[in-house]
């Protein structure tokens, strides 16, 4: 019995199983990007390069992209840090669960629904101005312009940031809090000694991530920007590619974007956002914090209102349409299709994420730090490279297989999975890097490798982040309409596509109903996956033992 385990080779335990799946994903992504650029560069003209510094328009576009993204990132983080601290100080806060679900929701909202929701609350005739009128204030909030862009970006990104920063705070070992409590540290010293050092490790990566999200934000910037001066690089790429057929300019702008965002990304990852993190004993809701204050609750309630109001607007507008929709089988079929696509996308995305992390960890352990960083960066390519360029690349790579439109949904699931990969990695990276070291050593010694390691160690230990990552991936896929339209969709629509079809047929009320269904679905997906993650699950093996015990009693 004793010798058996050391001669046994667990399935998939050869190191290539750690290295190659991740490398394959990275190669696929690099291939897509390369194909996308090569597709554009086929019509390359050098004139495009000189345009870059000669055209005042392009200079202005690049400047504005950087400017608004920097401001948006700063504001999002400025709001997220106090919110994360307040959430950490008040583990028993009454609306905590709801607030956490809402923080996850705003990011995955399809832009057209988000724009609709923000306008309903903060628009010219929105709830805010109605309220201001109601109390007789002469002041009116004007949504359109830089302030609108910032509001939207804070609405999307501050919740995500707060969520990730909260994870960072929760990774501070409980003992350190106990000591701090004994020393009677108040808010300021606590920040300096415990919170800032913990957040400092997460912040660079997070800031760059948000910067890229804002930098590449497109439809919402145009809608709320108020005019053509609010133009980001993505708009210029879209314009060059779709309307002017100036492929070299599109390729060049895409490269500028890749260069700006990519180099920021490399700088942030060089700062070792995930090294030396304290091992994660992260479920200790009863953390000893003596610095809880009433104004934290006020902040949390305000934040809750900030997130909930726009979503309520979608609900109110959607309810009447929903009654009409309920009888329409089309919406339920679309819902089914959306869910299947989202489920497949979530599973694929989490698998790709784990594969990349495993491969990069292996590379790092073998001392190949550069290739480890490149592997992880590849997972973010879908964020750095404009969707239209990716679409072109995918199209060139996949065209032989594109004969049948019926394959559309499977393809969409696959592409959604790649699009969600940056978010999945963002959620998984920290927990993956901070698995308890003793557990890993014991696992090595016990020959817990390959599929056994996945089954008995990684999946259970990463259960919560994995389910959160899956929820993000599913949510992004549920709200996606760009990919599905890129390849030529079959006549069977998913929910977002249905929404657009209803809109272009002037079925405004039905469209509002569909928006509501989509929002409700997103909420349910996040709620269920989170509940599942929180549940303490007893292992089936313990039941097996029960039988064994009886046998030997």
């Amino acid at each position: 019995m004793a010798q058996r385990d050391r001669t046994l080779t667990p399935p998939f335990s050869h190191p290539r199983w750690r290295a190659w799946p991740g490398r394959a994903v990275a190669l696929l992504l690099a291939g897509v990007v390369a194909a996308g650029f090569s597709g554009l560069l086929a019509e390359w003209q050098w004139r495009a390069v000189s345009d870059l510094w000669q055209s005042a328009y392009l200079r202005q576009v690049i400047w504005f992209s950087v400017y608004q993204a920097t401001l948006s990132t700063g504001l999002s983080l400025l709001l997220a840090i106090p919110v994360a601290r307040a959430l950490h100080r008040h583990p028993m806060f009454a609306g905590r669960g709801l607030l956490l679900r809402l923080t996850e929701l705003s990011l995955v909202l399809p832009t057209i629904v988000a724009a609709f929701a923000l306008v309903a609350v903060y628009g010219r005739s929105g709830w805010l101005n109605t309220a201001l009128d109601g109390v007789g204030l002469p002041f009116r909030w004007n949504l359109y312009g830089l302030q609108g862009i910032l509001l939207a970006h804070v609405f999307f990104n501050a919740p995500l940031a707060a969520r990730i920063l909260l994870q960072g705070l929760e990774r501070i070992p409980a003992n350190q809090w106990r000591i701090a409590a004994q020393l009677g540290l108040t808010s300021g010293p606590l920040w300096r000694t415990l919170e800032w050092p913990a957040l400092r490790r997460v912040l660079p990566g997070l800031a760059v991530f948000i910067f890229i999200l804002c930098f590449t934000s497109f439809a919402i910037v145009m809608t709320l920007g108020g005019g053509p001066s609010a133009t980001t690089i993505e708009v210029a790429i879209y314009q060059s590619l779709r309307y002017e057929f100036d492929f070299s300019r599109a390729a060049l702008l895409a490269m500028v974007q890749l260069l700006i965002c990519g180099s920021l990304w490399l700088v942030a990852s060089r700062h070792g956002t995930n090294r030396n993190l304290v091992p994660g004993a992260n479920d200790q809701p009863g953390t000893l914090r003596r610095d809880a204050r009433r104004r934290d609750r006020v902040l949390l309630y305000l934040f809750l209102v900030f997130l909930a109001l726009p979503l309520l607007a979608v609900v109110f507008r959607g309810l009447p349409g929903l009654l009409g929709e309920a009888g329409d089988s089309q919406v339920w079929w679309s819902l089914g299709r959306s869910l299947s696509v989202a489920l497949v996308a979530a599973i694929l995305s989490c698998s790709c994420g784990l594969a990349i992390l495993a491969a990069s960890q292996l590379a790092r352990h073998s001392g190949h730090h550069l290739s480890a960083r490149l592997l992880e960066s590849s997972g973010h390519l879908t964020l750095l490279v404009p969707a239209l360029v990716l679409g072109t690349g995918l199209f060139i790579l996949l065209r032989p297989q594109l004969g049948q439109p019926h394959q559309g949904l499977a393809l969409v699931a696959g592409i959604n999975a790649l699009m969600a990969l940056p978010f999945v990695l963002q959620v998984l990276r920290g927990p993956f890097a901070t698995l308890p070291p003793n557990s890993l050593r014991v696992a090595d010694q016990l020959n817990l490798r390959g599929s056994y390691r996945l089954r008995w160690l990684l999946l259970p230990l990463l259960r919560r982040p994995l389910l959160l990552a899956a929820a993000y991936a599913a949510g992004l896929s549920l709200g996606d309409f760009s990919v599905i339209a890129l390849f030529g969709s079959p006549s069977a629509p998913t929910l977002p596509l249905l929404l657009f079809q209803q809109l272009s047929a002037y079925r405004i009320e039905a469209a509002s109903g569909t928006a509501f269904v989509m929002l409700a679905l997103l909420f349910v997906v996040f709620y269920i996956l989170n509940r599942w993650g929180d549940r303490r699950r007893r292992h089936p093996a313990s039941r097996r033992l029960a039988a064994g015990e009886h046998a030997h009693a």
Partner: protein, 206 residues
């Protein structure tokens, strides 16, 4: 017999270098003592294969251990804490000592149940480690080490902070193993542990 000769280790961050020399034969227990930071745990981790030495030799029964990964070495480690997987039941934690995929035969299950009785945890198989006291957790860890039955046991402060009863039981179990020919390397601050178990001493200096 475990031998290590001029076994050099360099800490990657501080560039500090440690060199270890020693040997311990079958049925013996080597106690490693010395002040904090002198590299006691490092030695155990080198033997277990969690760390790699820069140079020197490390042999078990004349066989060079250094090329072997941790799972191929005839070694079981017991740390002061963190030995158990909190997400798995006691039964599964022990079962992993027999088969890493938890594919257990009826006889294997019987062995697990018997081992639980032996360490005084009868009926606790379905509990999770978080539901046990520190002493009980350490009993499970030692039980798993015995179930694996590797000829080399590495104990890193295994009894620190445990109640006297548990200490007594665990010490007895270790002595039994030693008498059956196992080789034991023990790192401990506790003079009574060392006194009651050790045949040989290795004193490290900072």
């Amino acid at each position: 017999m475990l031998e290590f000769e001029n076994l050099r280790f360099r800490y990657p961050e501080t560039e500090r270098v440690l060199t270890f020399n020693g040997e311990v034969g079958a049925g013996q227990c080597l106690a490693v003592t010395g002040p904090s930071g002198c590299g006691k745990s490092t030695l155990l981790n080198l033997v277990a294969g969690f760390l790699n030495a820069e140079s020197g030799t490390l042999r078990w029964q004349e066989q060079d251990l250094q090329p072997l990964p941790p799972w191929e070495r005839p070694v079981t480690s017991v740390f002061q804490e963190g030995n158990l997987f909190d997400h798995l039941s006691v039964q599964d934690n022990l079962g992993l000592g027999i088969h890493p995929g938890l594919k257990l035969s009826r006889a294997d299950n019987a062995a697990v149940a018997a081992m639980l009785d032996k360490v005084g945890l009868h009926g606790m198989a379905r509990r999770h480690p978080t539901e046990l006291s520190g002493g009980q957790r350490q009993r499970v860890a030692v039980a798993r080490a015995l179930l694996r039955g590797t000829p080399l046991l590495l104990l890193d402060e295994p009894f620190t902070g445990l109640d006297p009863d548990t200490r007594q039981i665990l010490r007895q179990l270790i002595r039994d193993q030693r008498e059956q020919g196992a080789v034991i390397v023990l790192v401990s601050h506790d003079a009574s542990d060392v006194e009651s178990l050790a045949d040989r001493h290795l004193v490290l200096t900072a």
